[in-house]
């Protein structure tokens, strides 16, 4: 069973049996509609049971499903036309980041996003969807071009993280990520980001600063991938499922934290089960949010964006008395008192 997860297998078995019975009905002319109806009810209840209680790790796996629609798939489904533009005008073309001008219900917009491959060959050409510094430079070039021509920027995000490679480091990916974050923060045109699959750390945020940040139901977005988190915590990447839970990386978590403005539902099982439907929901949300942003002046747009991001953070504020008390306790615990003498 290709592309089927372990936890889906009982359901897929059942679905196959229903298909067999239907085929048998047609072939032998025997009415099995009662049996089929019973099985279909069973399948429906199983479907709800399986997909209502997906763990964060199961969602990560769905987000990485090899048939999950890619950035170019969504571009083809959402926009009327797409004219792809290439190159960073400095070093080289990076096929791991795509971008260009598209028509959204006839309106020109700039679209950017990392692009994963379908085949091994395409994945090698696209570096498994992991941009080099040139990809971020290309994205910045296209975003600035959008600003010049006053068209909105739509960023479709599906990237596991920055690329841990020698050349990416040599060509300053840290600098490009910082510059891209700054560039996007400063854009005077509306920006809408949609996390469609994986939203991994700085690689995602570099193209993820938006007036609106939307997220597909089974996408994940985190400061670190579950595998790397598990590696740091337990030196064991096989415990990624536990790490995924700790990181609170699901769309529902991020909506609760106020990082994501809207969660776009996926069909049961994931976006690959019905790409057209997901794309239609994405398009509806993008158009709706854009029309709300269209009413804002450039100044209003920028101050709303900056207020939204300025507020993000979770910390506590202590009183002066508390600080003094805690510091006294600490100083006492250390208790040397003398400048020159100290014993542990």
């Amino acid at each position: 069973m290709n592309g089927v997860f372990e936890w889906e297998k009982p359901l897929v078995e059942l679905e196959r049996r229903i298909e067999e019975l239907q085929a048998f009905t047609v072939k032998e002319g025997i009415d099995l509609s009662d049996e089929i109806a019973t099985l279909e009810r069973k399948a429906e209840s199983l479907r709800r049971q399986i997909y209502a209680s997906l763990t964060p790790w199961q969602r990560v796996m769905i987000a990485r499903h090899k048939e999950r629609p890619t950035t170019l798939d969504y571009i083809g489904l959402i926009f009327d036309e797409f004219f792809e533009l290439h190159g960073d005008r400095a070093v080289r073309e990076d096929a791991a980041m795509v971008g260009g001008i598209a028509l959204l219900d006839g309106r020109p917009v700039t679209v950017i996003g990392p692009q994963k491959g379908r085949s091994t060959k395409e994945n090698i050409r696209r570096n498994f969807g992991l941009p080099h510094p040139e990809g971020y430079r290309k994205a910045m070039r296209l975003m600035k071009q959008a600003e010049k021509f006053n068209r909105p920027v739509i960023s479709l995000i599906d990237v596991v993280g920055a690329y841990p490679g020698i050349e990416a480091e040599e060509r300053g990916q840290g600098v490009l990520i910082a510059e891209s974050i700054r560039c996007m923060s400063a854009l005077t045109v509306p920006t809408i980001c949609v996390i469609t699959g994986e939203g991994g750390s700085g690689g995602a945020l570099a193209i993820g600063v938006g007036d609106r940040v939307l997220m597909l139901e089974n996408a994940w977005y985190s400061v670190i991938s579950p595998e790397m988190c598990a590696q740091i915590l337990w030196r064991d990447t096989s415990r990624a499922a536990e790490a995924a839970k700790l990181l609170r990386l699901t769309a529902a978590d991020l909506a609760e934290f106020g990082i994501v403005d809207e969660v776009i539902p996926e069909p049961l099982g994931g976006a690959h089960r019905d790409p057209e439907k997901v794309a239609a929901a994405m398009k509806e949300a993008i158009v709706r949010h854009l029309s709300a942003l269209d009413g804002l002046s450039k100044d209003e747009l920028l101050s709303a964006r900056h207020e939204k991001y300025r507020k993000i953070g979770a910390y506590t504020v202590r009183t002066e008395d508390e600080l003094v008390r805690l510091e006294e306790a600490r100083a006492e615990a250390e208790a040397p008192g003398e400048e020159e003498v100290h014993t542990d």
Partner: protein, 295 residues
């Protein structure tokens, strides 16, 4: 002068020497004054007071030992007693309810005397008023969570209001994993704070110290008008072990050394710690006309 700072006055001064802990973050070994310590670079035993006098740089081999935020600022400002610390009431929360996170920050608080991995404030450097931002690698590997991001942001905001230059000394493994998405977002917050300060025509000098990595390098640290690095500091985005695992072959040992990053064109100048204050003063002097001169 606050009571808080007075408490620190009587503390013994420590040499702080890095050792890699399980999380790849530094832990501080505290060695009392009057003892000998071994240079991490060449192994030569050095009388601690001599090491401190030379700003924790080995006189024999030039190895730059890591120093805490407070030591860093004390080395740069003209008068530590006149240093006005910002926002020390901000303490970390645990927004993801990450296991053991409070315990770890509490332990690091006791170790460093800081509420989180950073100290910010205002002082004078060679007579020029400036806002200073110093990371403390001994607190959670200098990682940037909400408190660190907020303090960096506020430091830039105050500098913008008061028309002051900013000098930042990152020393960080990157974002604070335990604060998840909240730490990631600090990259945007700090990068935008730099941009606002920059648009006011004010100077920002970023001094990359060992190590400056990942989410800290990929945000405010890489955005200085002038970028200086200490010799041999590790500077990069992806961690060396992650690169090795991904490409499945060993990486050049100096791939992320400040000298290589300088040669690749991403650093203006490498300045030894013993010459750092003079270099910073020189740069502040060139930019003095654009900044406010009141202290």
């Amino acid at each position: 002068m606050s009571k808080f700072r007075d408490i620190f006055r009587g503390r013994p001064k420590y040499v702080t020497v890095r050792s890699q802990s399980e999380e790849g973050q530094g832990s501080r070994r505290e060695l009392p004054d009057g003892l000998w310590t071994k240079c991490e670079g060449c192994g030569t035993p050095i009388y601690h007071k001599d090491l401190a006098k030379n700003l924790f740089v080995c006189e024999k081999c030039g190895f730059h030992h890591q120093i805490g935020a407070r030591d860093r600022i004390a080395q740069i400002v003209d008068d530590m007693d006149a240093f006005e610390e910002f926002d020390r009431e901000l303490w970390p929360a645990n927004p993801l309810q990450f296991p053991d996170y409070e315990k770890k920050t509490q332990a690091d608080r006791e170790k460093t005397g800081l509420s989180d991995a950073i100290m910010t404030g205002k002082g004078t450097v060679g007579g020029y008023p400036a806002v200073l931002i110093a990371f403390d690698f001994f607190f959670r590997g200098g990682s940037m969570g909400s408190v660190v991001g907020e303090k960096v942001t506020r430091a830039f905001e105050r500098a913008t209001e008061q028309r002051l230059p900013v000098i930042a000394f990152p020393a960080s493994g990157g974002a604070r994993m335990q604060e998840g998405i909240f730490s990631l977002m600090q990259m945007q917050k700090t990068a935008w704070a730099v941009e606002t300060h920059s648009r006011a025509g004010l100077l920002y000098i970023s001094v990359l110290t060992d190590p400056t990595l990942a989410g800290v390098y990929g945000s405010f640290a890489a955005l200085g008008d002038i970028i200086i690095a200490e010799p041999k500091a590790t500077v990069g985005f992806a961690g060396p072990s992650v690169i090795t695992e991904t490409i499945r072959r060993p990486i050049p040992p100096d791939l992320q050394s400040a000298e290589t990053v300088f040669a690749n064109g991403f650093i203006d100048r490498i300045v030894p710690r013993t010459e750092l204050k003079a270099a910073l003063t020189q740069l502040l002097r060139y930019h003095a006309p654009v900044h406010s001169q009141r202290v």
